[in-house]
């Protein structure tokens, strides 16, 4: 059972649920952020949106909610935890992933399909891609510029933690064109592009689907 975490202001929660239930066809349920027991979950997705209206900083308030302690437990148990867009922001703000997301250099919200290079093909989410593969996924964000200091960047490279990088055009000014990072173990991934919007050909492309499929495989392999 994969949980989809729902905060006040989450917008892409039902989109992720649909991708899991109807496209990849795996058991999934919505998890409201209050008073929830996550112990039955084999994995978790923190979806995109504007949790708490993006007030203070995108993801800052959600990151401090009690449920995030339970998410940290899941991650520590090596269960797969995926953060998409606002979910990525929340994972960074809560310390589950290094670095931070801040305002796009263009100062504008940008919604378009972009090319990504897969740089890590061993994590629990990216092992169905080939290293160096170029894929297409849509972005839609105003605070997607990834930043980390030089030491952190060294570490990320050393430990193969940069999962996806923008290829051809960097839409938001992210350092080293970083579009997604994972933790050292590879069971926590955060990315700005939306795989749930690129899991069906009808909506523009299927390159994002493999992230969910890999997540399901990972869970099956651990059982």
């Amino acid at each position: 059972m994969i949980g989809v975490l729902e905060f006040p202001g989450s917008n892409c929660d039902y989109d992720v649920l649909r991708a899991l239930q109807d496209v990849v066809k795996t058991e999934a349920r919505m998890v409201f952020f209050k008073n929830q027991d996550l112990s039955d979950l084999d994995g978790l997705v923190v979806p995109g949106g504007f949790s708490y209206g993006d007030h203070l900083r995108a993801g800052a308030i959600a990151a401090k909610m009690e449920v995030m302690d339970k998410v940290k437990v899941l991650a520590a148990q090596s269960k797969p935890v995926l953060g998409i867009c606002n979910g990525f922001q929340i994972l960074c703000e809560s310390g589950l992933l290094p670095g931070a997301l801040t305002r796009n250099t263009s100062m504008k919200f940008i919604c378009k399909w972009v090319k990504l290079e897969v740089q890590n093909s061993t994590s629990a989410f990216t092992n169905l891609y080939k290293k160096g593969e170029i894929v297409n996924m849509p972005i839609a964000h105003g605070e997607g510029r990834y930043f980390c200091d030089d030491n952190t960047l060294k570490e990320l490279k050393k430990n193969n933690q940069i999962a996806f990088a923008y290829n051809g055009e960097n839409p938001n000014g992210s350092v080293e064109n970083i579009a997604g990072v994972c933790n050292r173990e590879g069971n926590v991934l955060g990315l700005m592009p939306h795989p749930e919007r690129s899991s069906e050909k009808l909506l523009g492309g299927e390159d994002g689907r493999r992230i969910f499929e890999a997540m399901v495989n990972h869970i099956k392999s651990k059982k």
Binding site: K64, A100, G173
Partner: protein
């Protein structure tokens, strides 16, 4: 106690908002303006026994949620 917290982006981090505003000012004729920067100000009242205690609490709030140390730094003033 009246507490004021000023938050700004860490040095070395691009502040595109400040850059854009400075450019606009230059275009409007204020060509003698440079080093435009922006800060965020949080204001609140803290019910505490001393200024020191209020400052300590404010600092804790910053470290817990109000400030992201990866990209921001802050200054607290207790009045």
């Amino acid at each position: 106690m009246d507490v004021e917290i000023v938050v700004k982006l860490k040095k070395g981090l691009l502040n595109p908002e400040a850059k854009t505003i400075e450019k606009s000012l230059n275009l409007l004729g204020y060509k003698n303006v440079s080093d435009f920067d922006t800060k965020k100000v949080f204001l609140m009242k803290i019910d505490a026994k001393s200024a020191e205690e209020a400052g300590k609490q404010a600092d804790e709030m910053c470290r817990r949620i109000l400030v992201n140390p990866v990209i921001q730094e802050y200054e607290i003033t207790v009045k």
